[in-house]
Point group: C2
Chain length 273, copies 2
DNA sequence: TATTATTACGTTAGGCGTAAAGATT
DNA sequence: AATCTTTACGCCTAACGTAATAATA
């Protein structure tokens, strides 16, 4: 009967080249490896090696067997990983979001609704959020595109609009300026609130010539924003104190992507309805 | 450590519903299954069942674990199957062909070239031939389309052209008839040499209104052809005795597919060059 | 009472390490 | 002499079956 322990010795031998080295790295005796290789041939029912007196090497069949052994081991590793993360997802209510604002809005209601379970949350790339929900790694995800997949429920959650906040004398402001497009902002350095989240990703994409400056320490954005002559972005979901807007003008940003709709996704309907 | 034997007991339990039935079908004692299920929970490191006093059932995590366990078992079965068939392909020189004529032409040279190995050959569907070569199940394949895939070599082998052989007074023959198209033949019953092979497939496709009649016993085609008033197909690679053509006229068949080019494919260049 | 899961216990077989032998470079 | 594979031998663990227990329907 094929056996995962033996399979691992088998592929390790393929990587090490000699039985002795294999025994070394696996912390077992050399005879153990010899026996395992013999039993692999019995299990597969075919010859897997060419043997000379003090040398044993894979033949073509052996190399094929190694390939397939790797697949079995990968399947086993995958099984452990997936089952454990699912179990953990049942214990800990995990939320991944592509944006901080939507997460902040959602969390309080989750804390109330699932007061019996610890809640962990994380800002992550949109694609990873979707994947995590797909694979039961997290209970609820927040993304910016509607999702229509079997076994995954989706509903609209909220919208958020981008504004730019500039010092009154900033060169981008002309007399008649009511709003600014990404093209107009592109090239002007901007202070960002966070290194992660959908807005940051968007700025990297739409403002290629702009240098995005991040707070030196996490959480020091407000302080730095007050002292800085740089423009910064805010949204209609802004949670900063009013003081950062002193001496500044806030203008809407126009162009594709400046208004985002967030969607909640989950494999469990009750989690998002 | 995850173990294939235990995994099989695990998925069998999922199919049987009770530990006792599982023990029965697997021919082991009930305590063995109890212990295995306990050790599965240890291996995965999570709870997989809900237990009442004399009832044990899968929970959600358990059902997920069963899914993944099936994948591991499938990977293991696949490995055994593939490695064994590859080993066999090294011992026995296996040829699969979509047509008998090309096989007949190829076999003698193979017998000479690989006189140290037994040769087995088979007529099969074109797609299965290609798949067999891809998966190392056979050494050489004969198909009718050129193939360009990594790791598979291909070369042109021979061509074969289709003719129809009719009794002199057959209604399909007019004064000026020099050839017949599939459209003209379609609807007329025809005696076929074999139930397998590319020509038979082609006739099924191009002569939907025709009833194809096969020899009652394999190998009795020549005998039946002499006595029959039906037309039959031959090719320029015909190997039947001249006697079957007595009192008959042989006309070329026209139309797409009436001339076929055969290609040899193999994962080993030397096998076909 | 029949069925089911679990625990306890004694036995056994299989797997491991040590030691040694045989062969190669 | 050092390295490598294989065989032989003894030990010990881990897995099995039997028997018994407990609970349910």
């Amino acid at each position: 009967m094929l056996n995962l322990d033996e399979l691992k010795q088998f592929v390790t031998f393929a990587e090490m080249g000699t039985l002795s080295k294999t025994a070394d790295v696996l912390h077992v005796s050399q005879p153990t490896i010899t026996r395992t290789m013999q039993s692999m041939e019995e299990d597969f029912g075919v010859s897997l090696f060419t043997r000379s007196k003090n040398r044993i090497e894979f033949n073509d069949t052996g190399r094929l067997a190694v390939e397939y052994s790797r697949k079995i081991i990968a399947a086993a590793d995958d099984a452990l990983k997936m089952v454990r993360s699912y179990d953990s997802s049942l214990r800990i209510f995990k939320v991944k979001s592509c944006a901080a604002s939507a997460l902040s809005l959602l969390l309080p209601s989750l804390v109330q609704k699932f007061s019996d379970r610890p809640i962990s949350s994380e800002i992550s790339l949109e694609e990873l959020v979707a994947d995590s929900v797909r694979h039961n790694i997290c209970s609820v995800g927040i993304i910016t595109k509607s999702m229509d997949e079997d076994g995954v429920f989706c509903r609209e959650f909220m919208t958020e609009k981008l504004y730019i906040c500039l010092p009154k004398e900033h060169e981008l402001i002309k007399e008649t300026t009511q709003s600014l497009s990404f093209e107009e902002i592109n090239g002007t350095d901007v202070l960002m609130e966070s290194e992660r989240g959908i807005w940051t990703d968007l700025c990297y994409e739409r403002l290629p010539r702009t240098t995005l400056r991040f707070p030196k320490k996490t959480g020091s954005f407000e302080k730095e924003a007050k002292d800085s002559p740089l423009p910064f972005f805010v949204t209609d979901r802004n949670t900063n104190s009013d003081s950062i807007f002193k001496g500044r003008i806030t203008l809407p940003v126009t162009g594709e992507g400046s208004e985002i709709t967030y969607y909640l996704i989950s494999r469990d309907k009750d989690y998002i309805m």
